[in-house]
Amino acid sequence: VRRVKHALWAVVKSLFVIFMLIFALAPIAWLVIGSLSGVDIQTFNQARNIPWSHLWDNRQVYRFFWDFPPFRDSLYASLILCGGGTVVTVVVAVLAGYSLARFSFRGNATFLFLTFAALMTPSALVLLPTYVSVGWLETHTGIVLRNNYFGGILLYSGITLPLAIILARGFFASLPRQLEDAALVDGCTPFGAFRKVVLPNAAPGVFAIAFISFLLLWSERNIGSYLFASNPHTTTMPVWLFNNISTYTGAGTPLAPAVIAAVPCVLLFIVGQRWLRRGLQAWVVDG
């Protein structure tokens, strides 16, 4: 009886695994197939059969978009704004998170509260004021934040900063203190201990923060379409696609660009999943 029960359990388990794999991957696979169909979505959906034999021949759809200058520009714009924003966020959030996790000082709790408040604010509330403020800055101080990389990276880094700070704080709080204490005893300054002892051990956590921030920014569409859509070099991919869906229908649009947009995230995830897991693990143990 025990053996039968064991075998049954194994069957149930593997069935569930297969079900979850299909549930998780089938939509993605369908996206890739659709992008390779070589026709637009409507035609593809109306077709009776899936043109399996033609799929591989239609891979030039990707070539087409890759060589298509406006799309390339938007891809670069996304990489620069999201990548730059991620780097700034991570550097700033790591410093702040360490400070919040390790030092007790006046204003510590207040700052944390404000960060939480910023995290919980609907983006709809912030959008128009940001637009107004950027316009005000432009007319009164001559600092232009619209449609350039400087403003883009500044504003993008601000979007994810609250989340990144909270993640970083949790992560540093989970690192053992002994290492730093030892470094302090050996004559390191507190900042030296942070730079030489803590940071080298924080790589997984830093990667996790960077990855989550990057994911969030990569889907950003509000600020991008209000403030950065008039310069082709700062028009990010989602913004460009949604402004041009009707113009470029045909040639498998817009599924091929969607696949291309997902590739950097998937690659980063597969390459860094070990670090991501370790970073999350540290964060999970006591946040």
Binding site: L154, R221, R277
Partner: protein
């Protein structure tokens, strides 16, 4: 361990006392002790204030102004009308935002409940399973968590194309299996609710699974060995060891899920992109309704956003009260 630490500290203190440091070093130490935390915090404080807090305060200020299309150009200089926008949003039946908000609130709350229940359960099951898989099959974990890393707007597009009237779902249901005789319109009525909620579950269960998996790996193995010795079966082990050890992380995932299901404008809006009909399940969600009103009537939108923010604050306080014990005990 504590003993050696203590003696090390003592040695350090003695060493420090033995040599009287120069003024420069003393100043540097002073700086480190008092100003280092602020120095580390400064860039973050600057960015948070400039990019987040100032716009938030401006937005809250907007909610007290008459910022209709006539006064739009004046922005912060528009006439001050006190709580009128809140009255409009909360009580005036003729107000479009008020009319839309209530059904949207109901749909959103039900959607949030469904999404959280399903994604947490699925996430937990997946995490438990992945944790029990033998090493060579661990790569399956990467595949199952993949939906989480697909950009939100890609997910929206993908599912719009899947739910299409002639899309794959209807093909499977009607043409291939014959389960239904009539292809449903997934963007209307109750079906639109399913069509917007399922993609959210699809994305968020993967995140839950990732976090739960990390938490599972962190539970000390000895606990399970001890339970095994005592003859506790898998079921009991789950309820007595696994779950109590993961309470805190479950709490955090719940919070993240609440915030995202209230705010996930891109996912909801894109799955509901086509054909929204005024209907009980019309895939009108709070974030979409507010976003739309911000474009047309920023003052009402600002009031609605402020109300939403306060409501979320209350939810977070309830959440904190409910989970405080499990957060502290970790």
């Amino acid at each position: 361990v504590i003993d050696t630490d203590g003696s090390q500290e003592q040695i350090a203190v003695e060493r420090a006392a033995a040599q009287v440091p120069s003024l420069r070093i003393r100043l540097a130490r002073r700086w480190h002790r008092h100003w280092l935390p602020y120095g580390l915090l400064a860039p973050a404080a600057f960015l948070i204030i400039v990019v987040q807090l100032v716009p938030i305060l401006e937005g809250i200020w907007f909610s007290f102004l008459r910022l209709d299309s006539y006064h739009m150009r004046q922005f912060l200089g528009a006439p001050f009308i006190g709580l009128e926008n809140y009255r409009q949003f909360l009580f005036v039946k003729a107000n479009t935002l008020h009319a839309d908000a209530l059904p949207a609130l109901r749909t959103t709350l039900i959607a949030a409940l469904v999404i959280i229940t399903f994604s947490l359960t699925l996430g937990m099951l997946v995490a438990l399973l992945l944790n029990s898989l033998p090493r060579p099959l661990r790569f399956l974990g990467v595949l199952v968590i993949l939906p989480w890393v697909i950009p939100t707007w890609v997910i929206g597009q993908l599912w719009v194309y899947i739910w299409d009237r002639e899309g794959i779902v209807n093909k499977i249901l009607v043409n291939w299996s014959g389960l239904l005789s009539h292809p449903p319109d997934w963007f209307r009525g109750f079906d639109s609710f399913i069509a917007t909620v399922l993609p959210s579950i699809w994305q968020s269960y993967a995140f839950a699974a990732l976090v739960f998996l990390a938490a599972l790996r962190a539970i000390p193995h000895e606990l399970y060995e001890a339970a095994e010795m005592d003859g506790a079966n898998g079921w009991r082990q789950f309820w007595r060891i696994t779950l109590p050890n993961m309470k805190g992380i479950v709490a955090i995932v719940v919070l993240v899920a609440i915030i995202f299901s209230l705010y996930d404008y891109p996912l909801f809006s894109q799955t509901a992109l086509t054909g929204i009909t005024p209907d009980r399940w019309s895939s009108e969600y709070v974030p979409i309704v507010i976003q739309d009103s911000v474009l047309g009537f920023p003052h009402w939108g600002a009031a609605a956003s402020t109300v939403l923010m306060s409501a979320l604050l209350v939810i977070v306080l309830i959440w904190y009260a409910a989970f405080r014990k499990s957060l502290v005990s970790r």
